[in-house]
């Protein structure tokens, strides 16, 4: 499935990854990418490769942790899961995101 639709807004990929892991439990990189694309229903142009730097970033922050396991096609794969700190971060980010969205949409409504 070639990427189509809009670009991933800056800084939101981390949030999406955290949310996905919180909802689905441990997943490998491909699983996360597929899940995000499914939820976006083709509205998002995700370069799946960018998942990995994002995962590294989250792991360095201590929000996700990883363990090696075996994928459904019997290959070595790293499974990521969200940590307690990651859940707290997700909650905080969700709230910030909601607030940002409501401010921006109110502003836009007012202008029109």
């Amino acid at each position: 499935m070639p990427p189509s639709g809009s670009e991933v807004p800056y800084g939101t990929l981390d949030l999406m990854v955290l949310k996905t892991l919180a909802a689905m439990g441990p997943l490998h990189g491909y699983g996360i990418a597929r899940r995000i694309e499914q939820v976006a229903e083709g509205a998002l142009a995700l370069n799946q490769g960018t998942i990995y730097p994002a995962l590294l970033r989250l792991e360095q922050q201590g929000w996700v942790k990883s363990a090696w396991g075996t994928s459904e096609n019997n290959r070595r794969a790293r499974f990521y899961s969200i940590t307690a700190a990651g859940r707290r971060q997700l909650a905080a980010e969700t709230e910030t995101w909601a607030r940002t969205v409501s401010i921006v949409s109110r502003l836009l409504d007012h202008e029109s």
Partner: protein, 882 residues
Amino acid sequence: MTTLRVWLSRLRGALRGRSRAEAELADEVQTHLDLLAHDFVARGMSPEEARFAARRAFGGVDQAKALYRDQLCLPAIDGLAQDVRFSCRSLTRDSSFLVTAVLVLSLGIGVTHMFLTIVYAHTMRGLPIPRPDRILYISTFDDRTADRPMSYPDFDDLRAGASRFQELVAYTSTPVAIGDDGRAPDRLEASFVSAGAFATLGITPLAGRDFAPADHRPGAAPVVMLGRSAWLSRYRGDPGVIGREILVDGAPATVTGILPDRSGFPSTASVWLPLEHSPGLVTAPRDARGLRVFGRLDDDSSEADARADVASIMSRLEAQHPTTNRGVRGRVVPINERFLGRLEGPWLAFLIAGCIIVLVSSANAANLVLARSLHRAREVAVRTSLGARRSRIVREHLVEALLLASAGGAAGLAVSWTGIRLFASAIPAGTLPYWIDYTMDVRTAVALVAVSLTTVAVFGLAPALVASRLDVLRVLKDGGRWQTTSGGARRWTAAFMTAQLALAVVLLSTVMLATLTARARLPSDAALATTSVTTAALTLPASRYASPDDRRYFFEGLLERVHNLPGITAAAMTSALPGTGVAARQLDIEGRSWPDDRLPTTLVVEVTPGYFRALALAPARGRDLTELDGRPGHANGLVNERFVERFLQGQPPIGTRLGVSPPDRAAGPQSWVTVVGVVPDIRQRSTPDAEPLVYLPFASAPPASATLMVRSAQDPSAVAVLLRDAAQRLDARVPLYRIQTLAQVVHDAEWNPRVSARLAATLTMLCLLLATVGLYAVTSHGAGLRRNEFGIRMALGATPLRIARLVVAGVRVPLLLGLGFGLAGAIAWDRAFPSSRPALRASDPSIMALISLLIALVTMAACYHPARRAATRAPAEVLRQE
């Protein structure tokens, strides 16, 4: 918090190495692509199509990896590692540059570090005791004497009354004879110490025990402690000696313990005794001030508290004992301030010389780097045009400079270590106090790093900035021809070159003149440098040889026995051996008046009649001393030729009557003697030239400490055995010590001027070498800049010789200017600080010619390589590079 965690995690990544993390990522990405492709196949694509589709969906695999990699670790560290690898490669490619630069830096850093270590040992490190700042040294002073020790009664009252000290300790030093049954005694430096001395200094015995308070009570059984080296040499490290009785100056004392090396407090002691056993000390009057006192401060007292404490006790003592203590005050200083040399005079000169050397050597390294960057201009230009940032180029140059400085520092450490070993070995054993130790420690290591970094600041930064400001377009257009130096910088280099050469010339001239004149050649020098004369020191204990007659009787007996030994051709006693120095005394000459009644001074040595026979010297005029001289009615003496030259011009020396003050500066009556002979000059102190000297008969005032000297054709060690035996038979409690040949005595006595001369010569060689390297850098730089011109010239028929001459001509101006300024400076220096006995002046044509020749040789050595390279390159090859 989070940023710190990320940073730590990245640091971990950087340290763990990227390869594993990258391999893991590659695995992960491959799994991802496989799963994607699998999905696409399931949707009906062919495997081939699916693979391409998966790649498209994934986005750029390499971009993702690069992004990942940048986050994995710290890019700065990563880049640094890259720079280090790159610099190592580029440095090892240019081995002649590498060797020259490291050589220059290592000499600069090494010599500076050596100077710092020596100055540090003499003026900064201090005594090896814990918390030396808490140990205060207490001396006394009054209106007449600026600083003197303390008497036992004063010390006792101070110890009893002081409230700010944990412990107050007194000591006094004297040589003693250590003996035991049947074996010849050894003469060792001893220190009498009061209770608690070693605990205060933090010294604990290696074996046995420290003195107990009971050992310090008057009338207690005598005890003694030995230093480790004395224990090893005399008792072969036998632990059985502890608890045994040995003889100290003939009196039995029990050994309680062995103290470690490096505890030779106060200076070079190797025997310690309780202070209270020092003969006559406890009963000494209050104004017999001979004790040195120190104490450890209470934890909650300051230096000022201690000062007030001591001051109040001293003024109380003044009130109680007005006759002995009028105006006597206490002085309190930290112990290291008392013991350490001050950072002045030669030490300061050392330090300044070190700074100059390190600056000159790093400036030379800078010239080398500049010369080299010429060859790299094209590379830098290409990289800049490909997008390398200036900061990156500067950083790379700095990394290279750091690498060079590290190599220079490491090699410099070897230079410094060797230099310090040489320096230390030139100093006779037992000359330096135990706490002067040229070992390196943390602080000297820090100094090494600091010095190395200083060189980086000088030779790394400037070329780096020059390279980063490179005009890329011009370099690429000119095919790599690039002026590294602007006109200003070139002038600066030439000025630096000139100054460096001038400095080398001044040093060269000074050292050459000093070597020629430092030691006026005395006819007696050869006579003194002999192994046929054996000398041995001895000291008569004051307890049993109190009167001059007792001492005279002993010395006469000793000489008589020695004369009768087989193979001894001459024997004599003297108060001071040649070269070992002697205090000057006031001199009066009959019938002479002195301006302002200021008497001149002269050196005075007491000798027995055989002295000049033993030295194989004969009086130039008059006669030698005889056994009769010095007896009542025969107050006769000798003077040397320098004395005649200085004081007896225009009058017959024989028959002149001289008045000489007594040896201890006390204003005693002068003793008058008649000059009966004039003897050859002998260097009595380690001065450049002989000084006026009066020889008095030994018998008229025999000192307690004197030196025996005998002439014999036998082996010196055999003579030593004979002498020891003879002294033993006369008095078993009087040991002979410092048994040496006269040649050894004179050699040791000259250590100070010898070391100075060696240091000066080393510095000069270093300066010349640095100047050579500087010349080399400048000529090779200049030749490189003009290589196209040279190519054209050669193509047009110029001979290689002509090209070589052109290369050398590039440094003609700084060379001639440097030589000129240097010679002028040398002449000015010689005028300002003329040597006492100039054999040659700096303006002498032969000296100037010799120096010019040396500089010409140095120039040829420096220019040979660049000139040869320029002259032998085929013109076609050079022009093809256009």
